[in-house]
Symmetry: C2
Subunit: 216 residues, 2 copies
DNA sequence: ACGGAACGGAACGGTAGCGTTCCATTGTCT
DNA sequence: AGACAATGGAACGCTACCGTTCCGTTCCGT
């Protein structure tokens, strides 16, 4: 029976690329129920947070039996990790890398700001980070789906600016990436504050100056 | 009985400035026991983390009855908040503000690095941040004891540099403070990475450049 | 139309942990 | 010496919630 659940779990996961492998008889996991669970789970995440989320509460809010949840995912941990992965994959990084450094920087920072402004993220962002210390699967997922592509996008801009001479070739790329990402994350995620357009413009200028000086 | 506990709680809290107000008869909370509990609690915090810490585990590790814990603090939450407050107050900010900006920056950043390198902090830092969203008392304590004095120290350096002309008077102090603190926190707390001396020196130079450009 | 699996709902066993209470013992102040 | 409260230890009631199982019902694909 554990294998049964694993099979179904794999089916759901695969369903994103290939359509559901229908059982021969009638009766398949109903999309409506899956949707209701998903929505309820995110609402619960926003209200209770990651650590305090309970499967009973999700089922209750979705108007669904707990069995429906366990038919889809093998455990609470797997469900949350999977749902967040799906959500987060939507917001792809996007690389501008057109022309001037200042413009590229502002655009990337604006993109980051937009993503960090997501209320759900603001609510559970720090919890996901905290939980990563205890949950390797979550940590790996977050790195692969969130951290890595964003650091890559930042690096691409830096490398582009180096290539056409706006930044020195001796730039420390690792530190440069930190300088680019850290202030917004710090202010919006850790300080739970906003950043208006003025802040963003000044930040862009300051970051540009920092990058030009971040040589080893 | 709830009042009893509150009284004892206040007594313990006050004991940091004034010595324990002895009861008239014999028999007082024994310092040895308090110390054992404190040490056990921090060990548990480091191992299990904030959210997973249990009073039973603390008592077990301290070789102590749970009753001994509840004679000292009214609840788990109060105990942890109070213990962390005591721990964190030790590491005062310290303001250099002597002479050159570059030197002041490097010194402050080195101090921050030293404090962020504390293994316990690295372990539970993100959990404290996450828990702050749900625990107003913890959030306030962290702001008062941790955030505020450090931002104040940063601001003092910036203001000093403005006063003797190394930074422009139009500097955005709020953003400047972010620029000063964010990269280290980002790298050491969120990325769980270290920062060697080279990183710190380059960061100092880059931060100095960023500050000179962070005008509104 | 029909078969069968997914459905909502309820109940269950099991684990965990908080905060309380009791007790006989121990240690400390007067 | 004597009084008295703190002590370790154990047990308790309580709440919460995980993951499982069962049931009678509903819905879907053939």
């Amino acid at each position: 029976m554990e294998r049964d659940r694993s099979v179904r779990y794999a089916r759901i996961v695969a369903a994103e690329q290939k359509e559901t492998r229908t059982a021969t008889g009638g009766a398949v996991l109903r999309q409506r129920v899956t949707d209701a669970i998903t929505e309820a789970a995110f609402t619960e995440l926003a209200e209770a947070g990651y650590a305090r989320l309970s499967m009973e509460a999700v089922a209750r809010r979705a108007g669904v039996g707990k069995a429906a949840l366990y038919r889809r995912w093998p455990s609470k941990q797997a469900m949350i990790t999977e749902l967040i992965r799906g959500k987060v994959t939507d917001t792809l990084p996007h690389t501008p890398a057109t022309g001037a450094l200042h413009t590229d920087l502002r655009e990337l920072l604006a993109t980051f700001r937009g993503q960090l402004a997501n209320p759900l993220l603001a609510r559970i962002g720090t919890e996901l980070l905290a939980e990563s210390s205890h949950d390797g699967a979550l940590a790996e997922m977050l790195y692969t789906e969130v951290t890595a592509p964003r650091r890559l996008a930042a690096r691409a801009i830096l490398q582009g600016a180096i290539d056409h001479g706006e930044l020195p070739p001796t730039l420390d790329l690792e530190l440069g990436t930190d300088l680019l990402i850290a202030p917004l994350v710090f202010r919006m995620l850790l300080m739970q504050d906003r950043s208006d357009d003025d802040y963003l413009e000044t930040l862009t200028t300051a970051t540009e100056a920092a990058l030009k000086a971040a040589v080893r």
